[in-house]
Structures are given as C-alpha cells and as structure tokens.
C-alpha cells in the first residue's frame, strides 16, 4: 500500500524535473530501489498507470534497478550479500555488521523529449 504514496512522490519529482527542463514528454524513468525498502515493482507500475494519466509522463516506461541488501562485517571488514534468515558474517561468523546497500529509494534519471 505504501507504493501509492511512493509512486505519487516519484511522479511529482519526475514532473518537476521534466518541466524544469522544458520537456514535452517523459520517455523513460530510471529508478534505483533497494531490496530492504520492500517496494514492489509491479505495484509501482500499477499505480503509475493510473496516476500518470494526463501528465507529461503518461507514456513513460519505468525501469527498475533493484539493489540487493549488502552488509559489511565490522569484525573482519568483508562485504557480502545479506541473505534471509542468515544474519552472520559468512567469513568470520561474526554478527556485528553495517548495512551498506539495499535501502536505496531514488530517482536516478529521466529521459525526455
């Protein structure tokens, strides 16, 4: 359900940038979404189709770069992908880690005409 609010914020940001550039139409929207954000691609697309109607972005294709959750072990300094139900460092079995990727939720770029 939070995808609706997120999609609305994303569309507002896209339109603001497109208007600033004097664009006629937005062709593509490139998003970077971290796995931890729990944002579902299909859900964003579904809402986007509805709320973009009548705007410069109504025909825009959405492109998603999904970022896996990555952690760095504070004990041995190795980095690794954090798998479900396995929150220990695969190198030293330590459990003191820092999340270094996976929380992303940003608009990377837009392609306009």
């Amino acid at each position: 359900m939070h995808e609706l609010a997120i999609t609305q914020s994303m569309l507002d940001l896209v339109l603001e940038q497109a208007e600033k550039a004097g664009a006629m139409e937005v062709g593509r929207i490139n998003l970077v979404i971290g796995e931890m954000s729990g944002v579902v691609e299909e859900c964003v697309k579904f809402y986007f189709d509805f709320i973009s109607k009548g705007t410069l972005a109504e025909k825009a294709a959405l492109s998603f770069l999904m970022v896996p959750t990555m952690a760095r072990c504070r004990d041995c300094n190795e980095s690794f992908e954090l798998k479900e139900f396995d929150w220990a460092c695969p190198y030293c079995q330590g459990n003191n880690m820092e999340i270094v990727a996976g929380k992303e939720l940003f608009l990377e770029s837009i392609e306009v005409e």
Binding site: I6, M36, G38, W87, N96, L105, L107, E108, S109, E111
Partner: protein, 216 residues
C-alpha cells in the same frame, strides 16, 4: 535527452519532516514515533508511560489510525492533550499529516510527544515524521522471526521494546536470538523487555526515555 536527477523519491516527505523537527525543537518538545504491528501494545505503552510520568513530564499524544477515534478517547481520559489522525485507508502517517496535528496541539505545554503510528511493520519505516526517536514495539505472540521479515523497521529503530513478556511461559519465543538478530544489523539499538499488562520492567523503558528527554 537524459536528465540526471539522483534524488530520494521521498525527498518531499523528508523536507516536511525536517520542518516538523524544527517546530518541535523550537517548542522544546521531544517526539517519539511509536511503531509496531497491530495489537503489539502501542496504546498500552502510551497509557503505561502516562501513568509513570504523571506530574513529572507533560505528555501529548498523536493517535494515527486508519479509522475510528477509539484510542484517542481512551487516552483523552488520562487528561493529556491528544489528537486523532485518521488516514482514511492509508497505511502510515506521513510528515504532512503530522504537521497538521502539530499545529493543533498545545506544543508550548508539551515536553514529550508520543506519536502512535498506524499498526504496520512496513510502510511507516519509510516515512519520517520529524521525530527524535523511532521506538518499535514487538510482542511475544508475534514470534521471534520478525527482524528477518521486516528488516528495515528493525534497522531504523532506536529502541525495540519486547512487550508481553508475561506470556513467555506459554509461547515459543527465543529472546536471545531475537535480540542478536536485531543487534547484528543495528548495533546501537536499545532493547527492553517489558509487559504493559503487568507493569513488569516498564521502569527500564521510562528511565531510558527520561535520559533521552534530559538530552533534549
């Protein structure tokens, strides 16, 4: 033509949250965003906190719910200023809703503002309200696998309260592995074991809260 943007999608909410923070700070109000799944004990915690701090700290409450004003009515009976926000189907509070609420509360006579978010472990994690601390309540009947299922919420929490510990003899819940999982990805988190129903160890939470307030 490609336009680089590199902006957080929730930037607008972040900016509004910052405005709320400034409003709170200028009135010396310390705000706590209470997060949990439905039924974990947010309202009970608010009631227990009011009871403990009555006459000591001036408390205000914002109640966020999809619908109804049941919680606000219960809290209003305690004689503290309370404001109900109904999201009308929305699964979380956002900074704009919080701003409206802040403008309708007597901030000058509030020292501690407890904001009860909508019961949900997903969406409220993403939407800052301008709070000083995020406090997550996770209760024994929910099971000890929640940090793995809702990692972002546990990662962002400043404190986790394990509520309903009076039910530990009847339910399977490994507090040690639960705490270890949270600490693994959130080293700085404070973890408390409490029971709002029996009042067990509530004082540990209250002491932490008072320390946070004194740092304000």
């Amino acid at each position: 033509m490609k336009i680089k943007v590199l902006k957080d999608i929730l930037d607008a909410n972040e900016q509004l949250a910052e405005r709320n923070r400034q409003l709170l700070d200028s009135n010396s109000v310390f705000a706590v965003n209470l997060l949990s799944s439905p039924g974990a004990g947010k309202t009970s915690l608010i009631l227990a906190t009011i009871k403990s701090l009555k006459g000591e700290i001036k408390i205000g409450v914002i109640e966020g719910d999809v619908s109804s004003s049941l919680d606000a009515e219960v809290i209003g009976k305690e004689g503290v200023p309370v404001l109900q926000i109904n999201t009308g189907g929305g699964c979380h509070l956002d900074a704009n809703m919080a701003y409206t609420a802040l403008n309708n509360l007597p901030l000058k006579s509030i020292e501690l503002l407890l904001i009860e978010n909508v019961g949900n472990l997903i969406c409220p994690a993403e939407f800052a309200l301008g709070e000083h601390k995020k406090v997550l309540i996770s209760s024994i009947p929910e099971g000890d696998d929640k940090p793995f299922k809702y990692p972002l919420m546990f990662h962002k929490a400043d404190a986790v309260l394990i509520n309903k510990i009076d039910l530990l003899p009847y339910l399977k819940f490994d507090i040690q592995s639960f705490s270890q999982a949270i600490k693994a990805m959130n080293q700085a988190v404070e973890i408390f074991q409490i029971s709002c129903a029996t009042g067990q160890r509530i004082q540990e939470w209250i002491s932490w809260l008072l320390i946070q307030l004194s740092k304000r």
